[in-house]
């Protein structure tokens, strides 16, 4: 059985560069000296640490718990000592965030795994296990997986899609994972399908991943359909893949569930399997290290491993005018700090020559290639013109917020205009305006209340006289009610007690 293929507009063929890293088996790097866990590396609120500096922790032990619904738990990936809880650089950009730092002791002592869920476990039980195991979307967005499962419990899921369409150039971590752990992925897909009672389940890979396809197909059956889609970037985008496989569209500003779809990354499906069947929390992931390194390939990296450690293991000396990109070349972020940790959403480290100065941008010649390749069919050129002119209202009218920042437009632009940067800045500008407006509205309300209170105080002498008797009356009524209640309780207690002639008279008298 093959997958349905409904065309989505736009897209561009990009050079793949996959063979650089996907030919060899994944490797396990030596333990790093320390592991760093940002409390918030997912969508939602930060987790709350439940350990303190100096504590000894074991592999699999929970370090931080979710306080809110949309959050995640963190677990130690090996045994060691909690060295610090404080601010450290995290990706992307130059920001720092609160992290738990563990000094690795190298003993690898572990907590006992949880018992596997029974085969008839219901959606709620699976959801609870995913919360416990800290499973979040590993495809990039980092949305807590249990929230998606919950969506599926309350609404109808026609199609469950397990996304193995690794459309960005260079990245092969999902490809290697599918080749090496097809069993776990397909089993995880089946658990997810049962959890949300999905009508059908598709596992999609790209057409140039024959090995992964074959590995998955050997485990698929009637209930899980495995197939490939054309390798057109960004075929693995959530909305694009949903359109391709179901013909349905996720509404603008909406969620996949509104199209009757839930989508999980293949690595997430594997993590679900580990949590549900093997009883292990999410503690490691496949990370591609590729580009200008001596030994490109995939690493089974412990979460929290500093990026520099993986780069060293891949034979990169940090020479020349190179930059390290976290993520793929189309959507990834250049790192300004190499001690940032691998998190649950880190899929790739790409080392490449820093952008050349000659890549200066020229005026737009309106060639329209950006319109042609936009996978959302946005008028990328008009958006750029509005963003550049600062006309943010016009940009919003042209659906700026439907832009998924895939970079296809900037990739084809003959004038080398950094289009995505313009869109990001416009979005940030609009968000800042909205925040200012909210603050202003709040301040206005506060001021109006203040004015009302002042006005009320001025008229206070008149109202005080009329109000105070009412207040006293209330108090008296309340007191009477309390007394009556006490009496009722006493009477009840008396009635329940065995009849006592000595007390009888007293009760009667009362």
């Amino acid at each position: 059985m093959t997958l349905p293929q409904h065309a989505w507009g736009g897209g561009v063929r990009v050079p793949r560069h996959k063979n650089l890293s996907n030919t060899g088996a994944s490797r396990v790097p030596p333990l790093p000296a320390r592991l760093i866990y940002p409390l918030r590396s997912h969508i939602g609120t930060a987790a709350r640490p439940i350990i303190k500096p100096g504590d000894r922790v074991l592999r699999g032990q929970c370090l931080a718990q979710p306080d809110t619904y949309v959050s995640q738990a963190l677990h130690a990936a090996t045994s060691g000592v909690v060295r610090d809880i404080g601010d450290f650089p995290v990706a992307p950009g130059d920001i720092t965030a609160t992290c738990i730092v563990i000094e690795v002791d190298g003993e690898g002592r572990s907590v006992d795994p949880w018992p596997p869920l029974s085969a008839d476990a219901d959606g709620d039980a699976i959801q609870r296990r995913l919360v416990e195991a800290g499973v979040i979307g590993m495809g990039g967005a980092g949305f807590p997986s249990h929230v998606k499962v919950r969506e599926g419990l309350t609404r109808t899921v026609q199609t469950l899609i397990i996304n193995g369409v690794e459309c960005e150039p260079y990245i092969t971590c999902d490809d290697r994972l599918m080749r090496e752990h097809a069993t776990g992925i397909v089993a995880g897909a089946r658990w997810l399908k049962r959890a949300v009672n999905a009508g059908e389940c598709f596992i999609a890979v790209e057409e140039d991943m024959p090995e992964a396809l074959a590995a998955l197909q050997s485990h698929a059956g009637e209930d899980v359909t495995v197939g490939s889609v054309p390798a057109i970037y960004p075929a693995g985008g959530e909305k694009q893949l949903i359109k391709m496989l179901t013909g349905r569209e996720v509404p603008s500003k909406g969620l996949p569930i509104q199209a009757g779809v839930l989508m999980h990354n293949v690595a997430t499906a594997q993590a679900v399997y580990q949590a549900v069947v093997e009883g292990r929390p999410l503690m490691s992931r496949y990370v591609t290290v590729t580009g200008s390194v001596q030994q490109p390939g995939n690493w089974q990296a412990l979460l929290g491993t500093p990026v520099s450690h993986l780069l060293q293991q891949s034979g990169w000396g940090g020479y020349g005018k190179q930059q390290v990109i976290m993520g793929g070349p189309m959507m990834g972020m250049a790192l300004s700090h190499l001690e940032v940790p691998v998190t649950k959403v880190t899929n790739c480290l790409l080392v490449q020559e820093a952008a050349r100065v000659s890549m200066m941008s020229m005026p737009c010649i309106r060639c329209g290639e950006c319109l042609r390749v936009c996978p959302v069919q946005l008028n990328a050129r008009a958006l750029y013109e509005y963003a550049r002119a600062g006309d943010l209202d016009a940009a919003q009218d042209l659906h700026l917020f439907d832009c998924i920042e895939c970079g296809a437009c900037a990739y084809v632009c003959p004038s080398h205009i950094p289009l995505v940067s313009y869109y990001r800045q416009a979005k940030a500008g609009i968000a800042a305006t909205e925040r200012r407006q909210q603050t202003a509205a709040e301040n206005r309300r506060r001021y109006e209340r203040h004015e009302q209170r002042l006005a009320a105080d001025q008229t206070a002498p008149e109202t005080a006289e009329s109000a105070s008797p009412a207040g006293t009356m209330d108090k008296e009524a309340m007191r009477a009610e309390i007394t009556a209640a006490v009496e009722r309780v006493r009477a009840k207690r008396a009635a329940n007690e065995p009849p006592d002639p000595t007390n009888g008279g007293e009760s009667g008298a009362a």
Binding site: R356, G368, P418
Partner: protein, 341 residues
């Protein structure tokens, strides 16, 4: 609002395309046409072309200086060369030197840079310059091909003399009507297509000379399509519309209306379809918009040729639709993914 180029933001990968490369590819696609024109009309074609290149670059450099823009990379982006080349191909091969100067100064100073330079012009500069000359110097702009097969094209010396204005033009035998003009004049003189169609000025497809120029432009255009510098919508829509309307009229009255192939392979049809109407700056960018734009240009070419006052309508048709391009683009936006239909 500024954004840093390359380094900071994604994407960090770029296809090997640049404005200069696109312009170079367009120039390469024109070469077959240039060769055929040289063969048909003699060295005047090359003289016009080289002179146009020189004038255009000098003019562009001066304008960039006045606007305070750096000569590098703007002068080497190839846009002035493309404008000059298309302009030179549209010019009659024996036009005097000052015509080219006037046309290109108008095209680059008023049509291009006055509106903000590369990427901002509303009208195609080469066509605007050409039409400017056509309106102001109609006689000098008729210095075209020999009308019958008995004459060969003039040599270098003679071309040079005409170029510097040493010989008055037009002169019988060397300059005269193109097939489009001849057909139009004869038909208006109540002759029938079947009578005039056997004249030696007619070739297999259209004009005895211009048909091969059109074939060369068609070949160059197909190459541009193949490498993705232009997209199929505008040329396909333009040529189909022109072919269909010409066929309808010709079938209705074959003696009063020229056959469709004559329209496709005469005058500037192919140059217009693949190199002028496809100018991205002055055409709509949406796919549906490009189809509409192409259809409108094709119909206008026919209407102007057949019922208008000018033998060839390509330049006028393109300019008229250039003015409508922003409007067309605005009203042909595709439905975005996930939008309520």
């Amino acid at each position: 609002m500024t954004a840093t180029s390359g380094g900071a933001g994604s994407p960090h990968l770029h296809q090997p395309a640049s404005v200069a490369l696109v312009m170079r590819q367009v120039l390469m696609a024109i070469i077959p046409m240039l060769v055929v024109m040289f063969y048909c009309y003699g060295p005047g074609v090359i003289l016009q072309w080289l002179w146009a290149l020189l004038v255009a670059h000098a003019c562009e450099a001066l304008l960039l200086r006045w606007r305070g823009l750096p000569l590098q990379p703007h002068l080497s982006d190839g846009s002035a060369a493309v404008t000059a080349t298309i302009f030179a191909l549209a010019m009659p091969p024996w036009a005097p030197w000052w015509l080219t100067v006037m046309g290109l100064v108008f095209a680059l100073a008023l049509v291009k840079h006055a509106y903000g330079g590369l990427g901002h012009n509303l009208f195609n500069p080469a066509m605007a310059g050409y039409v400017f000359l056509l309106l102001c110097f109609p006689v000098a702009m008729k210095a075209w091909a020999p009308i019958d097969a008995g004459h060969t094209a003039p040599g270098w010396i003679e071309s040079l003399i005409r170029f510097v204005g040493g010989a008055p033009s037009p002169v019988d035998g060397y300059s005269g009507a193109t097939v489009l003009e001849y057909t139009r004049t004869q038909l208006r003189a109540m002759k029938m297509m079947s009578e005039i169609g056997s004249q030696p000025i007619y070739g297999l497809l259209g004009d005895r000379n211009a048909q091969w120029v059109n074939v060369a432009a068609f070949v160059g255009g197909l190459w541009l399509l193949r490498i993705g510098v232009i997209r199929w919508q505008i040329p396909a829509a333009l040529l189909s519309a022109l072919f269909i309307i010409a066929t309808v009229f010709h079938l209705a009255d074959g003696d009063r209306y020229a056959p469709p192939l004559l329209h496709l392979f005469s005058g500037a049809t192919m140059l217009g379809a693949f190199f002028v109407a496809t100018d991205p700056v002055s055409a709509p960018g949406t796919q549906r918009g490009r189809l509409l734009f192409g259809i409108a240009v094709g119909l206008l070419i026919y209407l102007i040729r057949t019922f208008g006052n000018y033998p060839d309508g390509v330049a006028f048709a393109v300019l008229i639709m250039n003015g409508a391009a922003p409007f067309i683009e605005r009203h042909t936006q595709p439905r975005i993914l996930g939008a309520r239909s």
